[in-house]
C-alpha cells in the first residue's frame, strides 16, 4: 500500500514537473519580476484604479446609507410645505430644466460644430479661434454664468427669475461642451465616407445628415451625457436665474427649484439634513436613468436603421 502511494505521488509529481517545463512563454512573470521600475508602475496603476473606484464607491455608498432610510412616500407628495419638504416639485422641475436647456444647447451646439467641421476648410484660423473661445468658456465658473443670466435674461429681458432664464443660462453654460465634443466626433468620421457620398453625387446637406452625423452619434452623445451631468448638478448658476420656489411652474416665466438647488436650500436651512440625503439618492438615481435613456436612444439611432 505504502509503496503504491509513493509511486502515485511520484507520478503526480512528475506530471506536474512536465507542465512546469511547458510554462507559457508569454506569462508576465518573467518580465515584471526582473525590473523594479515595472513593479512600481504596476503598483501605481493598480493604486490609481483602486483610488478612483474607492472614491466613487465611498461617496455613493455613504449617500445611500445616509439617505435611503429617509426616503418616505411623503417625500413624493405633489406639494411642498415647510413641514413636509417634498422633493416632487423639484424632481419635475429638474427634468423640465434639463429638457429645455439640453434641447437648446444640443441644437445650437451640433449645428455650430457642423459649420466648423464641414463648412470651413481644415486648419482654418476662424475655427481655431472659436474652438479656443469654447474651451475657455467651458472653464468659467458657473456662478459667472449665473451672474450673466441674471443681468441679461432676468433683468434686461424682463423674464424675471424663471424656468426660462435658468434653462437658457444652463444652455449657454453647456453649449461649449456640446459643441466641442460634437466637433471632435465629426472630425473623427473618416473622410472616406464623405468622399464616397460626394462621389455618388450627394450634396453637403445629404452627406452631413445621412452619412457623417449618424457615424458621429456616439461621440455627440458622450458630450450630451456630460452636459446632463452639469445641468442636473448645477446650483450656483440657478439660484439667481431660476430661483428657489419649490413649485411646479405654471408657465415658463415662473420661478422653479431643481433638485440640486433644493438640496442646497435644505442643507443651508439646516433643518432637514436627513431629507437632503434622501434627495441626493433620488438625484443620483435620476442621473443614472437619464444617462441610460440617452444611450438607449443613441443605440436605436445607430443600429444601421438610418437611411
Amino acid at each position: 500500500m505504502v509503496k503504491r502511494k509513493t509511486l502515485a505521488a511520484v507520478a503526480v509529481g512528475s506530471g506536474k514537473n512536465e507542465t512546469d517545463l511547458r510554462e507559457p512563454i508569454n506569462s508576465n512573470k518573467h518580465i515584471s519580476t526582473k525590473k523594479i521600475s515595472s513593479i512600481m508602475l504596476r503598483v501605481l496603476v493598480y493604486l490609481g484604479v483602486f483610488l478612483t473606484v474607492a472614491a466613487m464607491l465611498f461617496i455613493v455608498v455613504y449617500i445611500l446609507i445616509k439617505g435611503v432610510p429617509y426616503i418616505t412616500p411623503s417625500l413624493f407628495e405633489f406639494t411642498y410645505t415647510s413641514d413636509n419638504v417634498s422633493l416632487m416639485p423639484a424632481l419635475i422641475n429638474t427634468v423640465l430644466m434639463t429638457a429645455v436647456a439640453l434641447v437648446v444647447s444640443t441644437i445650437i451646439g451640433v449645428f455650430a460644430a457642423i459649420f466648423l467641421v464641414e463648412y470651413t476648410g481644415r486648419g482654418n484660423k476662424f475655427v481655431s479661434v472659436v474652438s479656443l473661445a469654447a474651451e475657455t468658456l467651458s472653464g468659467i465658473p458657473s456662478i459667472v454664468y449665473g451672474l450673466f443670466g441674471m443681468l441679461f435674461f432676468v433683468l434686461y429681458l424682463h423674464w424675471g427669475i424663471s424656468l426660462l432664464s435658468g434653462a437658457l443660462t444652463l444652455a449657454i453654460m453647456t453649449l461649449p461642451l456640446i459643441m466641442r465634443t460634437t466637433q471632435e466626433a465629426l472630425i473623427a468620421v473618416p473622410d472616406a465616407y464623405r468622399e464616397a457620398s460626394f462621389g455618388l453625387g450627394a450634396g453637403p446637406l445629404r452627406t452631413v445628415f445621412k452619412v457623417v452625423l449618424p457615424s458621429a452619434i456616439p461621440g455627440i452623445l458622450a458630450g450630451i451625457i456630460l452636459a446632463i451631468g452639469r445641468i442636473v448638478g448645477e446650483s450656483a448658476a440657478l439660484i439667481y436665474t431660476a430661483g428657489t420656489i419649490a413649485k411646479v411652474p405654471d408657465t415658463a416665466l415662473d420661478s422653479t427649484r431643481t433638485l440640486a438647488v433644493h438640496m442646497y436650500v435644505l442643507a443651508s436651512e439646516g433643518l432637514h439634513i436627513n431629507e437632503t440625503y434622501a434627495t441626493a439618492v433620488i438625484l443620483l438615481i435620476l442621473v443614472v436613468l437619464i444617462n441610460a435613456a440617452s444611450s438607449a436612444v443613441a443605440k436605436r439611432m445607430t443600429k444601421g436603421k438610418f437611411k
Binding site: 476648410g121 481644415r122 473618416p190 472616406a192 465616407y193 464623405r194 468622399e195 464616397a196 457620398s197 460626394f198 462621389g199 455618388l200 453625387g201 450627394a202 450634396g203 445629404r206 445621412k210 452619412v211 449618424p214 457615424s215 444601421g304 438610418f306 437611411k307
Partner: protein
C-alpha cells in the same frame, strides 16, 4: 469609337505645386483606359479631376478643359449630375457604416428614387452586375462593415453602378486586396466594359496589360505616352516609358 471624356491642355496646381502639366488625353466609349506611372506622377490627381472630386481639396486650381460627351464638366454640367454620370471607386474600400442594402440604395435615394420596389430592383441589379449578389443576398440587412476587403470593394463598385453612370473611374481599386479578390475585380471590369466607359489608375503594370484597351503613362505630372495598350507595352516610343515598363525605375 466615340470620345467619351476628353482632357485638353489641363494644368493643375496644389498651392504652388504643379501636379499636372498641360495634359491632353481622350478616353473612348466602352473601353478601359489605364493610367500607369510611379507614385506622385499625377495619375490619381487626373482621375479625380474627371468627376471633380478635386473641388474638395483646398488650394487646388485647375486650368484647361475637360469634356464629357462634348460638354464642359466645369461649366455646362451641374456637379451632382456629373458625379451621377461619372461614378468613382476609391483605393480603399469605403462602404458606409450601414446595411448592404442601404449602401447600394444610397445613390438612387440621393437622386430621388423613393419606391421600395424600385430600390430593391436597382440594388439587386447592381449587386448582380458587380458579381456579388449571390454572396450577399442573405446579408442585405447586415452591416457592410462586416464584409471582407474584396467583398467591400465589389460592394463599392455595385454602389457606384446603382446610379447608372456612363463612366466608371477606379483609383487603384485592387491595391488593398489579395490576388483572388483582385482577379475577381479584373474579371468584373472586363464584363462591365460592354456597358461602361472605364478609367482605371493602377500601380500594377500586369493589370494594365491584362485588362485595358488604352494606356497612358504619366511621369512627374506629364503624360509621356498614350495609345493602345499592346503598342505601349510592346513598342514604347519613349525611352522613359520603356524604362518604366521594363521595371528599371518606379
Amino acid at each position: 469609337m466615340n470620345v467619351k471624356l476628353s482632357v485638353s491642355d489641363l494644368d493643375l496646381y496644389y498651392g504652388d505645386f504643379q501636379a499636372l502639366k498641360s495634359v491632353d488625353l481622350d478616353m473612348f466609349e466602352k473601353e478601359i483606359t489605364a493610367f500607369i506611372g510611379p507614385s506622385g506622377c499625377g495619375k490619381s490627381t487626373l482621375i479625380k479631376t474627371l468627376n471633380r472630386m478635386n473641388d474638395l481639396v483646398e488650394g487646388c486650381r485647375i486650368m484647361g478643359k475637360v469634356t464629357l460627351d462634348g460638354e464642359d464638366i466645369y461649366k455646362d454640367i451641374e456637379v451632382s449630375t456629373l458625379r451621377k454620370r461619372v461614378g468613382m471607386v476609391f483605393q480603399k474600400p469605403n462602404p458606409f457604416p450601414m446595411s448592404v442594402f442601404d449602401n447600394v440604395a444610397f445613390g438612387p435615394r440621393t437622386h430621388g428614387v423613393k419606391s421600395k420596389a424600385e430600390l430593391e430592383e436597382i440594388v439587386e441589379r447592381s449587386l448582380r452586375d458587380a458579381a456579388i449578389f449571390d454572396e450577399l443576398k442573405d446579408r442585405m440587412k447586415k452591416s457592410a462593415m462586416g464584409l471582407s476587403g474584396g467583398q467591400q470593394q465589389r460592394l463599392c463598385i455595385a454602389r457606384a453602378l446603382a446610379v447608372e453612370p456612363e463612366v466608371l473611374l477606379l483609383d487603384e481599386p485592387t491595391s488593398a486586396l489579395d490576388p483572388i479578390s483582385t482577379s475577381k475585380i479584373e474579371e468584373l471590369l472586363a464584363s462591365l466594359k460592354k456597358d461602361y466607359t472605364i478609367v482605371i489608375v493602377t500601380h500594377n503594370m500586369q493589370q494594365a496589360l491584362r485588362i485595358s484597351d488604352k494606356t497612358a503613362f504619366f511621369l512627374l505630372g506629364e503624360v509621356i505616352e498614350h495609345g493602345d495598350t499592346e503598342t505601349i507595352f510592346s513598342l514604347p516610343k519613349d525611352k522613359r516609358t520603356e524604362d518604366y515598363i521594363t521595371g528599371r525605375f518606379g
